[in-house]
């Protein structure tokens, strides 16, 4: 039997992962019908579908751990910005295909390390979700990494765009490796991997892909933080307003 503090920490952890997947999947879904080429339109949507799929599993699990009867939709559609726990990186707007790819790669390179380790979690619920997710995320990081290389190395125009996107999004990466007291508890119980361990693996992968993309790794300056505590950018409010419109406008309806 899990003690109440660990249970609370696990709820928060699943919520953070679920929210990050949902918000990022939502962002990618905005591309559907508008991508640079038909094949890539289909590919991006596949990634979006995977991410929303992970979000459903994680939010449903969070609701179960919380034990207050909230299901995936209750959590997705009836929380406002203050209660969302996603990474700031995930909520950044698509801007152009270059920003989308950089955002995706920086996330995927983190997610693949995370789920790989989380599949060995002592918590069976998380381990099961991670075992499924890691297969999909391995493909995501290959896809976004390949595109990062193509566009970094492609033309002068694409190189400049990728460099700018990388510099703009880099300050959102620090938050992925934060650790708070709730995570200390989960790491100690073997439920969650140590973020510091993720960071080393993430650094190595990012360095290798950036080198092939002929892009320089930006310096680790001041990092934007707060998404994990509900302190978000201005972008998330609009995303949620759009996403939650129907359930908010018709609170009694079932869809």
């Amino acid at each position: 039997m899990m003690d109440p503090e660990t249970r609370q920490a696990l709820f928060g952890y699943a919520l953070r992962l679920g929210d990050t997947s949902l918000v990022l999947g939502h962002r990618l879904s905005e591309w559907c019908g508008h991508a640079p080429e038909l094949e890539e339109d289909i590919a991006l949507t596949n990634v979006a579908l995977d991410l929303v799929g992970h979000a459903r599993l994680l939010l449903a699990y969070a609701g179960e751990v919380e034990g207050e009867g909230r299901d995936e939709d209750r959590l997705a559609y009836r929380r406002d910005v203050l209660d969302y726990r996603n990474h700031l990186l995930a909520e950044q707007p698509n801007r152009d295909f270059g920003h989308t790819i950089v955002r995706q790669f920086l996330h995927d390179a983190w997610a693949v390390e995370l789920y790989d380790r989380l599949a060995g979690s002592t918590d069976a619920g998380l381990a099961g979700i991670a075992a499924k997710a890691v297969k999909e995320v391995r493909y995501h990081v290959r896809h976004s990494g390949d595109w990062l290389i193509r566009l970094g190395d492609g033309t002068d125009v694409s190189h400049t765009r990728m460099r700018d996107a990388l510099e703009r999004l880099w300050p959102c990466t620090g938050e992925m490796f934060e650790r708070d007291s709730a995570e200390d508890r989960l790491v100690a119980a073997g439920i969650a991997p140590d973020p510091a361990e993720l960071r080393a693996a993430w650094n190595a992968r990012v360095a290798a892909v950036l080198a092939e993309a002929t892009l320089e790794r930006p310096a680790d300056g001041w990092m934007q933080k707060g998404g994990r505590r509900g302190e978000h950018s201005e972008h998330l409010g609009y995303l949620l307003a759009e996403m939650q419109f129907l359930p908010r406008a018709y609170p009694d309806a079932v869809w």
Partner: protein, 95 residues
């Protein structure tokens, strides 16, 4: 406006081990690796395969349909290539 197509690739998929790759269609990709990834995303969304070949369409040598008669019809009268050409008494088994 850019009007230059990415090259065309023909896509072959092995539905499961034990079966040959089968032509399923084509797609455009800038390079071979993209062609493989795109084939996975375009042609296996419902678990249709376990292995993919992407072949540049320009590399395929194809027979000319007007040669169909000379290439393929001669095979039609070579009945001796088929087992039913040979009469074996019914009491002989396992042959």
């Amino acid at each position: 406006m850019d009007r230059k197509d990415w090259p065309l690739f023909e896509i072959f998929i092995r539905p499961k081990n034990g079966l040959s790759h089968k032509h399923v269609g084509s797609l455009h990709a800038a390079d071979a690796r993209m062609a493989l990834d795109n084939a996975r995303d375009v042609y296996t969304r419902r678990g249709e395969g376990v292995s993919v070949w992407a072949v540049p369409a320009a590399s395929i040598a194809a027979s000319d349909p007007s040669d169909k008669a000379s290439l393929f019809e001669p095979a039609d009268d070579k009945v001796y290539r088929h087992p039913t050409f040979y009469d074996i008494p019914p009491e002989v088994k396992n042959i």
